[in-house]
Symmetry: C2
Subunit: 161 residues, 2 copies
């Protein structure tokens, strides 16, 4: 039995069987855009939850009625003003010990310009960086990355071999 | 300004600047234990948050006063009754759009038996599986894995090349 303590915009908090603290959260997509010359496409942004800037591959929440693929194309246009072809690389639960959030990771091939406008509450800077450098800086704790970004980086490096 | 709506055992819920829904959560460790013959060590367990069983690499929450390395050794003993040498592979925020949870991923080398007892509220089954098979089943949505598990699998496969 799940008893709700809070129902919000992007998440809800519930207690299951009077024991488990559970966060229901929208599902998400994350996008690996890479280019042999420029590296991997990241967005740099301030994340209030952790109080610091992160370097993450483009990502976003799946809105009601959207398929993961539709969200991927929308976020790609909004965050990077790009379009391209999608290949699903993986799907996973970000932190299934407490949250039901599921993330779909896509590779974007043949990226090319498209028009799009960032969300009002997002303040993003686009950065192209070499995946091996970002991975090393994240391992040293000098750069904050997300789980989706780590997976994307590992797929990008695999593709370079 | 962070206003708290709930303070719990493993997480707290807050609203920052009357806008951002934020979950404060304990940090975590995840452990890649692999063996050329048997594959990678997983724990199979039911996760109330998602209402299904997952196949995850051993993982656990960092308790007050513990270093990530101490948690890693404790979880390794509790979940798999093993000990070994640790190498940090990566650190990342599981889902920095809403949560401050940070995960430290370690590779365990030279694994060997140790004594340990699972937590009371954990019902775990140990499974050795080939990483490529698990990755393919997860991509098809047939198996539920965590973000840490995906990263661990990609590191395991990199090591096989």
């Amino acid at each position: 039995m799940r008893r709700y303590l809070y129902r919000g915009k992007i998440l809800s908090l519930a207690i299951e069987d009077d024991h488990w603290e559970i966060v229901e959260h929208k599902d998400a997509v994350a996008l690996l855009v890479s280019d042999p010359r420029h590296g991997v496409l990241f967005v740099e942004q301030y994340r209030p939850a952790i109080g610091r800037k992160t370097l993450e591959i483009p990502a976003g929440l799946i809105e009601e009625g959207e398929t993961p693929e539709q969200t991927a194309m929308r976020e790609l246009a909004e965050e990077a003003q790009l379009t391209g072809e999608l290949e699903k690389l993986a799907e996973f639960y970000t932190s299934p010990g407490f949250s039901d959030e599921k993330t779909y990771l896509f590779r974007v091939s043949n990226p090319r310009p498209a028009s799009g406008t960032p969300d009002d509450d997002e303040d993003l800077t686009i950065r192209w960086r070499q995946p091996a450098e970002v991975l090393a800086a994240a391992r040293r704790g000098e750069l904050a990355i997300s789980a989706s970004t780590l997976a994307g980086l590992l797929y990008a490096l695999e593709g370079e071999k």
